[in-house]
């Protein structure tokens, strides 16, 4: 249970970063931290003590009872790929905003108007 609580702490640190920080780049970094924490938590739910990865090898008989849960791994695979797409789009938005307003500070961006 300590592992779950530490992972939740990582998520809360990312949340703190998104709420408090004023620099756009820090906000992007914090959303990345939240993504890592969520993915790690889902895979933590699927671990089995003393088990092995869910791949059958040719000359090594492995019993299906001694394998970890493959479902959380499949879901997290999807999640990691989509995180990259989101990050790329956020970076593109940040670059365009800098080009227009010459600053990364979100309070200044809110005050100026096109």
């Amino acid at each position: 249970m300590t592992v779950y609580l530490l992972c939740f702490t990582l998520f809360l640190i990312g949340l703190y970063g998104i709420i408090t920080k004023r620099d756009l780049v820090r906000i992007i970094i914090s959303s990345g931290i939240m993504g890592y924490a969520v993915n790690l938590m889902i895979v933590l739910f699927g671990y089995k003590n003393g088990s092995i990865y869910p791949i059958f090898v040719k000359n090594m008989p492995i019993s299906p009872q001694a394998m970890v849960d493959p479902l959380p791994q499949a879901l997290v695979l999807t999640s990691i790929v989509i995180e990259l797409g989101t990050t790329a789009m956020l970076v593109a938005l940040a670059v365009r905003l800098f080009e227009k307003y010459q600053t990364f500070d979100i309070t200044k961006i809110r005050r100026l108007s096109g």
């Binding site: 300590t2 640190i13 004023r22 699927g46 299906p64 695979l77």
Partner: protein, 183 residues
């Protein structure tokens, strides 16, 4: 050492790394710290017997770092001003998050203990997956045969995100926006 102790060590290392990434003044150091946190996640995946995920997490995280460094580290970008942090907001947020953390401890006690998953659906996939799909990698069988529709959705989302990125970056500068309106 059992896996749980290694994971506790890795997670504390990641927490320290992410706090450093948020509080550093220099932008390049912050981006490299987040890269180190991603590497820690990849090692945790290796310890949790998920080699597929470790490879994918490592590579995609390197790609994120490359994109961020490419976009944000230039000579003519300003340094972050040591600006006035809104202390009231920071204080209220810290107190609220600590309260949320302590309120969630009894919730985590209700989960099955670490290392004993329930595995109701996964038992079927593990026992019949190799025979029904012909693939030795059960994770590939799950994402490309039993749940191929989800992979189609994920491919579409990635496609749309890449198209969106290209559209945002490629808008040519217009002199006067009102002249370009089509009737």
């Amino acid at each position: 050492m059992p896996v749980e102790s290694w994971l506790i060590f890795l997670l504390s290392f990641m927490i320290v790394g992410s706090i450093i990434a948020l509080e550093m003044k220099d932008l390049l150091s912050a981006i490299i710290s987040i890269g180190v946190v991603g590497l820690g996640v990849s090692m945790a995946f290796l310890l949790l017997q998920a080699p597929d995920l470790a490879i994918v997490q490592f590579l995609f995280e390197i790609f994120s770092i490359v994109i961020m460094v490419r976009a944000f580290i230039k000579k003519d970008y300003h340094k972050e001003e040591p600006s006035k942090v809104n202390k009231i907001l920071a204080g209220v947020t810290v107190i609220t998050l600590i309260a949320v953390f302590f309120l969630s401890v009894p919730l985590f006690k209700l989960l099955p203990p670490f290392g004993e998953p329930l595995m109701t659906t996964a038992r079927y996939y593990l026992e019949n997956g190799a025979r029904e799909t012909g693939s030795a990698n059960i994770v590939s069988a799950v994402i490309l045969d039993y749940r191929a529709y989800d992979t189609l959705g994920e491919t579409t989302v990635l496609f749309t995100a890449i198209l969106g990125t290209l559209t945002i970056i490629r808008i040519k500068k217009r002199a006067k926006p009102t002249e370009e309106e089509k009737p």
